[in-house]
Each structure stands twice: as structure tokens, then as C-alpha cells.
């Protein structure tokens, strides 16, 4: 118990500490791939430090919602991070059925973020909020199609056990896992507002999703939002990396090595996708998400019939 809890706390701290680094890594790789030098690897830390020291400006007409929403966002992300195994370490929060809690905790952060965006009373934020609400509709189905089916196959309902159950089996299972990982990757791209769904670097309000929702936040609020964004990206990265584990044996050291290589591979993948993909038109995004959902369904059918 004591050691397990300690490991869990260490993994939460790892997620909290390294998530900006991961975002920096993705940006750096993207820059290199497009032939630029790019910002330093630690740029996200510098930006967070800068934002932390600024004064907080709230929009006229905003209410307590905008003031507590960044906090709710950060707290929910930390709780979500505490449910994920880093390496082979058992997370702090792990009980039967926590897969549902995980999905809904992310839902809570989204709920408050949409409210906070609408709280400003500007149509830019409204636009972002409406898009977020629309696209988020597909997030939970995709999540449950992937992890729910693994859960049904393994019989576990705890995220830690589900991720652990992904083992080297037969070839159809491996195909199944690979397709699952693609589905989750597409979800991660949407949820973390990366290309080709959303462009984190764009500065045109009309085309943004996530960035436009926090357009009027500054100082500490923006710091909190960005930090939660980094954590969210890292959470999805960890989910994605857990598909890599079956290709190894067990063991803590190996787990850590795979964790690090997995992060690097994933960051490269994100960088490559962001380099070669162009942004979809807004009206095509539901099709993209439906595609991710559909391969989830297809995948499950394939697996069931070949079993």
C-alpha cells in the first residue's frame, strides 16, 4: 500500500512536471520537420512562467463562472492524470468502474470550459463553445468504443487493469489493438485541439475551436488553461503509449524505457501529422469524427467474428 501509493503520487508528479515538456517536444519536432529551428524545447515552461507573473484581466460582464472554470479545469485534469498508469506503476485512483469516472471527469472540465466561454458574452467565444460542444459529442463514444471494447474482452472495468490487460496474444487481437490505437489517436487530435481538427497556432478567431474559447483570458487564468491543456495532451499520450506495452515484457525499468520511447514516437507522430496534414473545413470535422467512431465499430465486429 505504502509503496504503491508513493508510486502513484510520483506518476502524478511526473505527469504534472513533464507535460509542458511534451508539448514543447511536439512543437520542436514540428518546427524541425518544416525546416525551421523553432522555439526552445522548454518554451512552454517559459511561457507559463511569464503568464504566471501577469495580472489577471476578466472581461466586463463575466461572472464567477469564468473565475472558477480554470481551477476546475486544472483539478479535473490532475484527477484524470491520477487514474493513469505511468510505466507499470499503479495509479493513485484505481477501482472497479473508474473508466466511467475517467470519461466523465473529462466531461466535467469540458462542461465548465464551455460555460466559461459563453460567460464572456462575445460571439467569438460562443462560436468556439458551440463547436466544442458539437465535437465533444463524439469524444465519449470514441473513447468507449476503444477502451470499452478492451474492457469487455478482458473483463476489467478499471482503467489501470484495462491498460494492463493489453497483452501479446494472437494476430487478430493485435490488429484489433492497432486499430484501437488509431481511433484513440484521432480522438486525441480532436480533444487536444491539434491539426487537422484545430490549429493551436492559428490567430484567426473565426476558425479556432479551443483557442477561441480562451481568447479573453489572460494572466493566471490563461496559465491555468494552458497548463491543463498540456496535461490533457500528455494524458492522451499516456493512453496511446499504453498500446505499446504488449510488445515488451513486464518490469519497471522496461516500463520506464518504453514510456520514454513511446512519448518520443508519439511526439514525432503528432509532429509529422501536423506537418503533412492541412486543416479540415469546419463542416468536415463531424465526418472525421464519425470516421473515428466507425472504425471503432468495425474493429469490434472484426474482432468478435474472428475470435
Amino acid at each position: 500500500m505504502g509503496l504503491g501509493l508513493l508510486q502513484g503520487i510520483v506518476s502524478v508528479l511526473v505527469v504534472l512536471g513533464l507535460s509542458p515538456l511534451f508539448a514543447g517536444l511536439v512543437n520542436k519536432l514540428k518546427a524541425i520537420l518544416t525546416g525551421r529551428i523553432g522555439a526552445p524545447l522548454l518554451q512552454p515552461y517559459y511561457e507559463m512562467q511569464r503568464l504566471f507573473r501577469k495580472e489577471t484581466i476578466n472581461a466586463i460582464g463575466s461572472s464567477f463562472i469564468s473565475r472558477i472554470s480554470p481551477l476546475v479545469n486544472l483539478v479535473t485534469m490532475i484527477i484524470a492524470a491520477a487514474m493513469l498508469p505511468v510505466g507499470f506503476w499503479k495509479p493513485v485512483i484505481s477501482f472497479d468502474g473508474d473508466i466511467i469516472l475517467f470519461a466523465y471527469i473529462l466531461g466535467l472540465s469540458r462542461f465548465f470550459q464551455i460555460l466559461a466561454a459563453m460567460d464572456i458574452g462575445s460571439s467569438f467565444e460562443g462560436m468556439g463553445a458551440a463547436r466544442e460542444a458539437t465535437f465533444a459529442l463524439f469524444a465519449e463514444p470514441i473513447f468507449f468504443f476503444s477502451f470499452g471494447s478492451i474492457s469487455f474482452i478482458s473483463g476489467y472495468t478499471s482503467l489501470y487493469m484495462i491498460l494492463h490487460s493489453i497483452q501479446h496474444q494472437n494476430i487478430s487481437y493485435e490488429v484489433f489493438i492497432v486499430i484501437c490505437s488509431i481511433s484513440v489517436f484521432m480522438l486525441a487530435v480532436t480533444e487536444c485541439s491539434r491539426m487537422p481538427v484545430d490549429d493551436p497556432n492559428t490567430h484567426l478567431e473565426l476558425t479556432m475551436i479551443h483557442e477561441v474559447m480562451i481568447l479573453d483570458n489572460s494572466g493566471l487564468d490563461l496559465f491555468l488553461y494552458q497548463y491543463s491543456g498540456y496535461i490533457k495532451l500528455f494524458i492522451y499520450a499516456i493512453l496511446e503509449i499504453s498500446f505499446f506495452y504488449p510488445f515488451s515484457g513486464q518490469g519497471y525499468l522496461l516500463g520506464i524505457i518504453i514510456f520514454i520511447t513511446g512519448s518520443l514516437v508519439l511526439a514525432t507522430a503528432l509532429g509529422v501529422v501536423e506537418t503533412i496534414a492541412s486543416r479540415y473545413k469546419m463542416k468536415n470535422i463531424p465526418q472525421y469524427l464519425l470516421f473515428a467512431t466507425a472504425i471503432g465499430i468495425l474493429n469490434l465486429l472484426i474482432y468478435t467474428f474472428t475470435r
Binding site: 461572472s63 468502474g97 462542461f111 460555460l115 468507449f144 463531424p286 465486429l301
Partner: protein, 660 residues
């Protein structure tokens, strides 16, 4: 067992009902309208609190002799007791809100005496309904309940929409009770008894099983508002006075759920197809209920559609329980029925909260159209907080009570897949995804409602916004219940567990619901709340150090921003509503000027009910057309009429002779 047994607490229950009825006498005896109302409402409140106390006492100290209260007509079995406590629990805040709502009408010189009479009758008949053990008595209570609701609904009868909506309601209520007559007559025919406690017709051995099940599903389904029988809800709920619409949506719909549970008791164990039928109907109701809600602009209509969604979620739990019963798996019955029963309680609480909240807004702004609202948070912060709590709870988002019951139902899917391998995992996965999808839609819907009503700046000038202490007491009680059940679900789950153990699952005790890591969930939720609070304190300190100010929102260089430029409810939901456009009968009309000098442009969006406009209205149109064909029979000549009467009598007599 034809004896009168009155334990202390059951006697107290009868007394409480008598006290509640006393309020009717009080209001008619006192001349002065205001005093009469205050006295009557206080008596009613006292009666209701006594009733709740007695229900809780009975739950804690069950009577030894099968809980018969009065002869064999009234009985308090755990299931009835559970629904009775829900009714009383929700009635108390509603009665408290009456102080505020009806006083407002008294000030406008409107008589509230008849409304209070009907409202009290409604409360009492609903309470008797769930304690009834005699079929005829049940039907009498059912009819009184329906009619009292109708009579209360026409409180503002001078309005055209009230006349139409209430007529719709009363028609549906009467169609429904005929099905119930047939249902109970068949039951009587088969068992020779009128008592609920003697109805045990195992589905498999009865030829009438499917008929009974279908009849019950239709009758109770209409009352509960399952799709496609939901059409009366969005018509009847908006036009009723707020306390009544809160009670209708929070409690009266649940009598349909109660009926389904009773039917299960009569027929158990049910075959598996019953479970699949209920699951399919419920999932359909849940998804399209919330999607219709998303397309509405009238807040009460929106909430009425949302009831359809929540009834769907309850139905999914019931369906799971049926599947458990068919496969003789008590674990699944516990989880399925547990989720359904707990969601019944939860929905009663947060739906009443939301109805009362929107009623307060309606009373102040004089409109139910959310497109004309906005910025109420700056007028009444506590109302906004209470409504926010209700919204978070109804969306099934942690850390409030809605999540707890949905969590149980989700667990049910996983448990069913695990217990019954075969093709079940696939179907259960579809249900998991379906329920998650419903959750996403509900969150979209309630962020929309909350944002458009309370946040931003007012789209139409708010002249006055008065709230009083009674509003806050009733909202406060309900919000507190949402929080308590969310943060500390263990005792409520335990209660549900024991109800199922003693009423729905015969013999097999199981603690599956109680053992569900509730302490973990309580701990996580408490951590979230404490962490947000702690961070808020730190944030205030940070702002003291680094500064804080307010400034204009980013307008992209445009300086004349008006509140009407904010995103509205229709623009927020437009993209989502366009997906199932034909089902929602969602149409948009844009009028844009194409001349050189821009003139006023207009945009309208509207959603009609599919069943309402595409099924019922054409059906009745057809009926009208058919009847018109027989118009020649309605001759003014009396001889024709006499001849027709004679023919009818002869036909009837012939049928009667052949029958005998």
C-alpha cells in the same frame, strides 16, 4: 388477513394525509384570500413534513405484519414506501415555493383557492396511489390524480395555449386509463382477486403474459413519457403553473415508472424479449428526448423533453433488470433496478429544481423564451448557482447525483457483458456508447441553457428581478440534496439496495450495489471540491500580488458591440440540430436582403415534434376525413335517428346472444 393493523408510523401517515386534506377546508373557510392561502399552505407543508417523517420511520422500523395499513387497501411495502418518500421529498420544496409563486398571483387579485384545492388533491391522491394495494382503489387514485392535475393546469385558463395544452393532456390521460382498466380486468380475471399482493402470474406459465406486459408498457409508458408516447409532455408541462409543472415532471411521470415496477412484480420472472423491448424504447427515448430538448427555445418545453431523456435512462436500468431476471442473475437485477430507482429519485430532485428555477425566471421576465434572456447571474447570483447545480446534476457530470445513478447503470452494462458472454458484449457496448452519447448531448443542452439564460449580458432589458426567501429555501433544499447524494451516495445506494432486496428480487440478497467503491468516489469528489476551493483561495492571493482588473472583451476591432450579437441558443445548437434534421423536423428560415442597400435580415429556427406533426395530426386528419364521409347519417330527420338506434340495439343484442 382481514384485520386492522396500525403501527405507530402508519397511523402517522394516515394522520398526515388527513392534515394535508385539512388545508383544503382551511382555504375555503377563511375569507381573506391572503390569510387563507398562508394558513392552508402552512397546514399542507406541516402535513407533508409529517408524512415524510412517518415514511422514513416506517422505512427504519418496518411493521411486522406485511405492512398492511388499513384493511388490505393500503399497504406500505418497501417499493411503495420508496416512491412515497420521493413524492413527499419533492413536494416539500414545491409547497415552500408556492408561498412565493401564489403570493405573486394573489397580489394580482387572482383567486388561488381552487388551485390550492386541486394541488392538494393531486398531492394526496399521488401519495395514496403508491400505497394502494387494491386495483380499483389504484385506478380511482390514478383518475383523481390525472384530473386534479388537469384542473390545476388550467389555472391561467384565459390563455389560448393553456386551453390547447390542457386539452391535449386530458385526452391522453383518458385514453391511458382505458388501457389500465383492461390491464387490471385481465389481472382480476386471471387471479380472481383485486389485491396487488395476490397478483403473482409468472410470465412463462401465463398465456396472457405478453398481453399484460404490452398493455402495461403502453399505459405506464404514456404516463412516464417514453417515446413515441411522449407527445403530451412538451404540450402540457409548459402551460401548467410552475409548482404544478415541477411536480408533474418530477413526480407524476414517476408513477409510470412505479407502474412498470409493479407490473414486473406481478409478472416476474419476465422473458428476455421484454428486457430488449424496454431497452430499445428507452435508448431511443433518451437519445431523441435530449436531442429534441436541444432544439427548443421555450425553457419549460425544453425541460419537458429532458424528462423524456431521463425517463429513458431510468428505462435502460429497468430493461437491464429485466434481462437479469430472464437469465436468473440477481446481480444484474440489483444493478439495473438500482440504477433505475436511484435515477428516479435523482431526476425528481434536479428536475424540480430546474423547473422552480425557470419558474422564478419566467415570473420575473414574463417570457419563457431563452433567446430573450441572459445575464441573470448579475441580478441573482444564488439563483444562477442553484440552476448550475441542477444543470451539472442532470447532465450526469460528476460530482453530483446524476453521475451516481448513471455510473450504476454503466456498471450494469459491464456486469451484463461479463456474466453473459456470447453476443452480449457487443450489444452492451452499443448501450455504453449510446448512454455516453446521451451524456454528451445533455451536457451540450445544459451548457446552452445555463449560458444563454444566466451568463453573458441580457439580450432584453431586465426591468426588475425580485426573488424572495421562499424561492431560496426551496431551491436550497433541492440543491443540497443533489450535493449530498453526489458526494455521499453510500446511504442512498444502501436504501435502494434494500428496496430491491425485499421487493423485486425474491430471496437472493446481494450487496453488489453497496460494495461499489462509494467511499472512493466520495473521496475523489471531496478532493475535487476541496482542491478547487483551495486553489480559489490561492488565486485570490495571487491576484492581490500581481493585480486584477476588468476590461472589454475582444471585439476584433469593432466598437459597437451589443448584447444581441452574443451567441444565442439557436446558434449554439444549430450544428447539432442539423445532424438529425428530418427527425427533429428542424427548419430554418433566413431572410437576407440582396439589394444594394442592406435592409433588416431575419433568421428563424424551429423544431416540431415528429410524432406530433407527422403521425398524430395526419392520423386525426384522416379520422376527421373518414367521419366526414358519414355525415349523411346525421340527418335532421328524427325518423332516421330512431331507425339507427333500433339497428344498433338489434346488433348489440345479437352479439350478446352469440356471446352467451
Amino acid at each position: 388477513m382481514n384485520s386492522i393493523f396500525l403501527s405507530g408510523s402508519s397511523l402517522l401517515l394516515l394522520i398526515s394525509l388527513a392534515v394535508q386534506l385539512l388545508s383544503v377546508a382551511v382555504i375555503w373557510l377563511i375569507k381573506n384570500e391572503r390569510k387563507a392561502f398562508l394558513a392552508a399552505n402552512t397546514v399542507l407543508l406541516g402535513g407533508m413534513i409529517t408524512g415524510l417523517a412517518s415514511a422514513l420511520l416506517t422505512a427504519l422500523y418496518p411493521a411486522p405484519s406485511g405492512n398492511i395499513i388499513l384493511y388490505e387497501w393500503l399497504r406500505l411495502d418497501p417499493l411503495g414506501l420508496y416512491f412515497l418518500s420521493i413524492i413527499q421529498l419533492v413536494a416539500i420544496p414545491t409547497i415552500i415555493y408556492n408561498y412565493s409563486y401564489l403570493r405573486h398571483h394573489i397580489d394580482k387579485k387572482k383567486s388561488v383557492k381552487s388551485f390550492v384545492t386541486f394541488f392538494t388533491t393531486l398531492l394526496v391522491s399521488t401519495q395514496l396511489l403508491v400505497t394502494a394495494n387494491h386495483a380499483i382503489f389504484f385506478l380511482v387514485c390514478w383518475e383523481i390524480m390525472s384530473m386534479a392535475a388537469y384542473l390545476g393546469m388550467i389555472f391561467e385558463k384565459e390563455k389560448k395555449e393553456v386551453q390547447q395544452g390542457s386539452f391535449y393532456y386530458v385526452t391522453v390521460a383518458h385514453a391511458l386509463i382505458f388501457i389500465l382498466y383492461i390491464f387490471f380486468f385481465i389481472l382480476h380475471e386471471q387471479t380472481g382477486s383485486w389485491l396487488f399482493s395476490s397478483y403473482h402470474l409468472p410470465f412463462a406459465t401465463e398465456t396472457m403474459g405478453p398481453v399484460l406486459f404490452i398493455l402495461a408498457l403502453i399505459a405506464f409508458g404514456i404516463k412516464a413519457g417514453f417515446m413515441p408516447f411522449h407527445f403530451w409532455l412538451p404540450r402540457a408541462h409548459p402551460i401548467a403553473p410552475t409548482p404544478l409543472s415541477a411536480f408533474l415532471s418530477g413526480v407524476i411521470l414517476k408513477t409510470g415508472i412505479y407502474g412498470l415496477f409493479r407490473t414486473f412484480q406481478f409478472l416476474c420472472p419476465v422473458p428476455e424479449w421484454c428486457g430488449w423491448v424496454v431497452l430499445a424504447v428507452s435508448l431511443f427515448s433518451a437519445i431523441f428526448g435530449v436531442w429534441y430538448a436541444l432544439a427548443q427555445h421555450d425553457i419549460k418545453r425544453l425541460l419537458a423533453y429532458h424528462s423524456v431523456e431521463n425517463i429513458g435512462i431510468i428505462g435502460i436500468g429497468i430493461g437491464l433488470g429485466f434481462i437479469g431476471s430472464a437469465n436468473n442473475l440477481p446481480v444484474i437485477m440489483y444493478i439495473g433496478f438500482g440504477g433505475a430507482l436511484l435515477h428516479t429519485l435523482n431526476h425528481a430532485i434536479f428536475k424540480t429544481l430546474l423547473f422552480i428555477g425557470s419558474g422564478i425566471v419566467y415570473q420575473n421576465l414574463g417570457t419563457r423564451n431563452i433567446e430573450l434572456m441572459g445575464g441573470i447571474v448579475h441580478r441573482s447570483r444564488y439563483l444562477a448557482i442553484a440552476f448550475l447545480i441542477g444543470s451539472v446534476a442532470i447532465s450526469g457530470v460528476p460530482p453530483l447525483n446524476g453521475f451516481i445513478s448513471e455510473f450504476i447503470i454503466f456498471t450494469g452494462f459491464f456486469a451484463t457483458a461479463n456474466e453473459l458472454k456470447n453476443f452480449y458484449p457487443i450489444v452492451m457496448l452499443m448501450l455504453v456508447v449510446g448512454l455516453a452519447f446521451v451524456g454528451g448531448l445533455a451536457a451540450a443542452c445544459f451548457t446552452k441553457v445555463n449560458a444563454v439564460m444566466f451568463l453573458g449580458s441580457p439580450r432584453r432589458e431586465i426591468q426588475k428581478f425580485n426573488t424572495n426567501v421562499f424561492d431560496y429555501i426551496s431551491l436550497g433544499i433541492l440543491a443540497l440534496l443533489c450535493i449530498v447524494i453526489g458526494f455521499y451516495p453510500a446511504p442512498f445506494v444502501g436504501m435502494v439496495n434494500s428496496v430491491i432486496g425485499s421487493s423485486l428480487v425474491n430471496g437472493t440478497a446481494s450487496a453488489i450495489l453497496v460494495d461499489m467503491n462509494w467511499m472512493y468516489i466520495s473521496a475523489i469528489f471531496t478532493t475535487i471540491a476541496l482542491a478547487v476551493f483551495a486553489l480559489y483561495v490561492l488565486k485570490i492571493r495571487h491576484e492581490k500580488k500581481y493585480g486584477k482588473r476588468v476590461s472589454d472583451a475582444w471585439g476584433c476591432g469593432y466598437e459597437h458591440i451589443t448584447p444581441r450579437m452574443q451567441y444565442t441558443a439557436s446558434s449554439f445548437a444549430d450544428e447539432l440540430n442539423t445532424i438529425p434534421q428530418s427527425v427533429l423536423v428542424y427548419h430554418k428560415k433566413v431572410t437576407v436582403s440582396d439589394t444594394a442597400y442592406p435592409v433588416e435580415s431575419k433568421f428563424e429556427s424551429h423544431s416540431d415534434d415528429f410524432v406530433d406533426t407527422k403521425v398524430l395530426l395526419p392520423l386525426f386528419g384522416l379520422l376527421k376525413w373518414l367521419i366526414a364521409k358519414f355525415e349523411f347519417l346525421g340527418q335532421t330527420d328524427i325518423r332516421y335517428s330512431v331507425a339507427f338506434i333500433l339497428i344498433t340495439i338489434i346488433v348489440y343484442s345479437l352479439i350478446a346472444f352469440l356471446w352467451v
